[in-house]
């Protein structure tokens, strides 16, 4: 008997989708207790369209192939002291921020997708989420392995895990992800699966990684692009989730739209760090943050939202603010880190004159007017031997937890400030977007562990800043922090390169 050939779709249906059965000995709600409380209505999980159809054997095969290639490059990188090929040692500070700020998010993504990959009662969605969970675990581990070599030769990477749980600026990415994970399973999928993976991670993993290659960092670009090859599956899952929810029931539309509004805002705030990494921490430039934003958000995201319009989905709220902010945020963020360079776990610096000119060219409407004067002032101060480190601690936004550094788009000289009262206590926000998020769910956001307030409450040791940095954050003060100029990193680099 000649067996008929099965196509990929039928095979996947038989091997995977058919594994579930209807419970008769237990209440399925006890097995899948989190599926209803968010108000999302699922009428038929069978309508789920598998975004990709990898069976586990194929998954192991292709992923092992990717891993083999990747680790061969890591091995070669460390055997040949690949860190010496970086075009400029300032670049390595981007790697430090990546390992302390981003890699732990991959870990949280692993945990979050494992959770929804257990909790959805539809097998198709569940398996897709489980595979993503496994991929995310891959990402955090390959990133640690890629940066393991840098850790041996540069300061500021050695306490990434401890610092992610504590350091003031790292509470920004951390709280972004704990916000998503502490939400219900469908909100998590819109937050991470759709908003973050479909549009926002591209900005980190595509133009930034291409920039890493341009700056001579083969280890990072290799894990970046290798991770991104999984990301294409994740993006497809993110898009399928939203289509599925919208096709299941019309009542899902307002809920999904609310989550899109929230998570695009929260995501763009988080990407402020990436904006700064792209513009300021890649010494050799590929494209500006503004250009990357135009290609990956405005163009690609625009096409996406046009496609989703047939379901009644609109562009995220405050998209007009976001469009203006692309001209500003990278400059505002780097100035913040530069002026808090004593309290950062990586080095900061004044951009070179060539870089300042590049900014003028890339940001003709804003750079010379608003940001060049900051650097002129910093240069003057540095020349006088008074490198500017600001005193005291900044006010933080209750939601995104970023210092309140963003300005009003109709008056970019003035910081934007919003506030609201809840249960007789005042809360402050960097923007209408963050304020809206708080007002929608204040009981959630009153719990924010705001680093500045925690220091004041005496929960971070101290009270001297130096003690907080060295004992609570476990920074190696005088090595990890302060200006790139005169840092041990710079001295070692010069020694390796034979520069006096």
């Amino acid at each position: 008997m000649a067996a008929k050939k099965l196509n990929i779709k039928d095979k996947y249906r038989l091997l995977t989708r058919d594994l579930d059965w209807d419970f008769s000995y237990e209440d399925p709600k006890k097995a899948f207790p989190y599926e209803e409380f968010e108000g999302i209505k699922i009428t038929d999980w069978d309508k789920w369209e598998d975004p990709f159809r990898l069976t586990m054997d194929t998954y192991w095969k292709y992923q092992a192939e990717k891993e083999k290639k990747l680790y061969a490059i890591f091995d070669a990188f460390s055997q040949n002291n690949g860190h010496l090929n970086v075009v400029d040692p300032r670049y390595v500070n981007a790697v430090k921020l990546f390992l302390t700020g981003v890699s732990p998010l991959e870990y949280q993504a692993y945990q979050g997708f494992a959770h929804v990959g257990r909790q959805f009662s539809g097998v198709g969605a569940r398996v897709a989420c489980q595979m993503q969970s496994l991929d995310e675990l891959r990402h955090v581990q390959t990133q640690i392995h890629a940066m393991s070599h840098y850790n041996k030769f540069f300061d500021g990477l050695q306490e990434f895990s401890h610092q992610h749980d504590r350091v003031w600026y790292l509470s920004v990415p951390k709280s972004f992800f704990t916000d998503a994970r502490s939400a219900g399973p469908f909100e998590f999928m819109i937050a991470i699966g759709f908003s973050f993976e479909y549009v926002l991670t591209n900005l980190l993993f595509v133009p930034f990684m291409s920039g890493a290659a341009h700056n001579g960092d083969m280890a990072t670009v290799t894990f970046g692009f290798s991770a991104q090859s999984d990301e294409a599956r994740h993006m497809t899952l993110g898009l399928e989730v939203i289509k599925f929810l919208l096709e299941q029931h019309e009542d899902n539309l307002p809920i999904v739209q609310k989550w899109i509004d929230k998570w695009f805002w929260r995501g763009t705030r988080l990407l402020t760090i990436v904006a700064m990494m792209m513009d300021y921490m890649l010494p050799k430039k590929v494209m500006s943050w503004k250009e990357a934003w135009e290609v990956y958000f405005e163009e690609a995201g625009g096409a996406l939202f046009k496609d989703l319009a047939r379901y009644g989905i609109k562009m995220p709220k405050y998209v007009e603010v976001i469009e203006k902010e692309k001209e500003h945020i990278s400059h505002q963020a780097w100035w913040t880190f530069y002026t808090h360079g004593h309290a950062a776990g990586f080095h900061t610096w004044i951009p070179s004159d060539e870089e300042l000119d590049w900014f003028s060219e890339k940001y003709p409407d804003t750079f010379d007017k608003y940001y060049r004067p900051l650097w002129e002032m910093a240069k003057e101060m540095e020349a006088k031997g008074e490198r500017f480190y600001t005193t005291g601690l900044p006010q933080l936004c209750q939601v995104c937890q970023i210092p309140m550094l963003f300005t009003e788009m109709d008056n970019p000289n003035q910081n934007a400030m919003r506030d609201t009262m809840y249960k007789n206590e005042r809360y402050h926000f960097c923007s209408d977007g963050c304020c809206d998020i708080f007002e929608e769910e204040p009981e959630k956001y009153v719990q924010a562990w705001l680093p500045v307030h925690q220091i004041f409450q005496g929960n971070c040791g101290g009270p001297e800043m130096g003690d907080i940095l060295s004992d609570f954050y476990r920074m190696n003060v005088g090595h990890d922090n302060m200006d790139m100029k005169g840092s041990p990193d710079e001295k070692r680099w010069n020694k390796w390169k034979g520069v006096a």
Binding site: W60, A64, V123, H145, F153, S161, H162, S182
Partner: protein, 328 residues
């Protein structure tokens, strides 16, 4: 001479990350160590889960098992993602050539209809048991504590999906890719009295809240018994009854079991050794679930192999439990 100077100049500043150095000393670390230890967040989660506010997002309190150090659960296989997928890829390559060979030579035609029916009724429905095991292991991975055990639980969960898919392919080989055998097998799983005990056991375990208890009920108790019954005893029976080629199709799961048992036993041993409360609790869980499993598997074991088969399997389980330090 110049080479010597260059090497001296490129002396590393440190050998590994600080948290790895605190555990293992100031020396170069393995990839397993750097990928595993102290990677998960421990404090300052900002928001309590709206679906479970009694716990933090990462909280060791979701099981009654207590550990001095949750990173004590070193995986004897030292699987991190890269070593895990590469190990499985090698196994699947062998398995793929087995399946191809079996299909190409149409070895199914050498198997009697009677045995085919037996396989569809008694072997193929195990894909649903694997599906339950997938849920239970992923559950532990998502709510468990410390990367050492949670990553291994995820690998195990995905393995179970792989096992379910391999078992489904046996059905497809037997029915010439029509999928009819899978429909029949599922019917047995849902209706046939031989399976109802096992199905009730699986459904009950999926609803267990304590993730470590769920691990015990699945990976320790049920898996050990199924492994002995199906992949050792039934495999031998097939060999004796002219269906030895099926062994080519279950080889993956057999080898997988050997590999995984090492990890399961080590988890049990490490948890039991940590404190007497753990040991007592594990013994209580094992006793409860072993009782249920024996009852659930009895009709299946009898139908598959006759009297006495289950006793052998229970004896093998007890031996493993003893070796792990329980019940002594």
């Amino acid at each position: 001479m110049t080479i010597e100077i260059k090497t001296a100049m490129l002396e590393p500043v440190r050998n590994t990350f600080a948290h790895i150095e605190r555990r293992f000393g100031d020396k170069p670390a393995t990839r397993y160590q750097e990928a595993t230890y102290d990677v998960a967040s421990e404090v300052n989660f900002h928001y309590r889960p709206i679906w479970q506010p009694e716990f933090e997002l990462n909280d060791s309190g979701r099981t009654a098992i207590v550990m001095e150090d949750w990173y004590a659960f070193k995986d004897p296989r030292q699987f991190y993602y890269g070593s895990y997928v590469q190990a499985r890829a090698k196994q699947q390559e062998v398995s793929e050539s087995n399946y191809k060979f079996f299909e190409k030579r149409d070895l199914a035609r050498l198997i009697s209809d009677e045995i085919k029916q037996k396989l569809i009724r008694l072997l193929v429905p195990l894909r649903h048991v694997e599906q339950a095991a997938n849920l239970n292991n992923v559950y532990g991975s998502s709510l468990g504590y410390g990367t050492a055990i949670t990553q291994a639980l995820l690998y195990n969960g995905m393995d179970r999906l792989g096992n379910a898919q391999y078992l489904s392919r046996i059905g497809l080989i037997l029915d010439g890719n029509t999928g009819d055998s899978l429909v029949v097998a599922k019917h047995h799983w849902v209706e046939d009295s031989v399976w109802q005990g096992v199905r009730a056991y699986c459904e009950a375990n999926i609803c267990v809240e304590d993730w470590f208890e769920s691990f015990v009920a699945q990976d320790v108790v049920l898996d050990a018994l199924v492994y002995e019954l199906v992949y050792i005893q039934f495999d031998a029976w097939l060999q004796e009854n002219g269906a030895q080629d099926i062994g080519m199709l279950t080889e993956f799961i057999q080898n997988w079991n050997k590999d995984t048992n090492r990890w399961v036993d080590s988890v049990l041993k490490i948890a039991a050794a940590d404190c007497s409360e753990n040991k007592a609790l594990l013994e209580q869980w094992v006793s409860t679930w072993r009782g249920k499993a024996v009852e659930a598997l009895a009709p299946l074991a009898t139908e598959m192999l006759g009297e006495g088969a289950l006793d052998h399997a229970v004896a093998a389980l007890d031996k493993r439990l003893q070796k792990a330090g329980l019940f002594k």
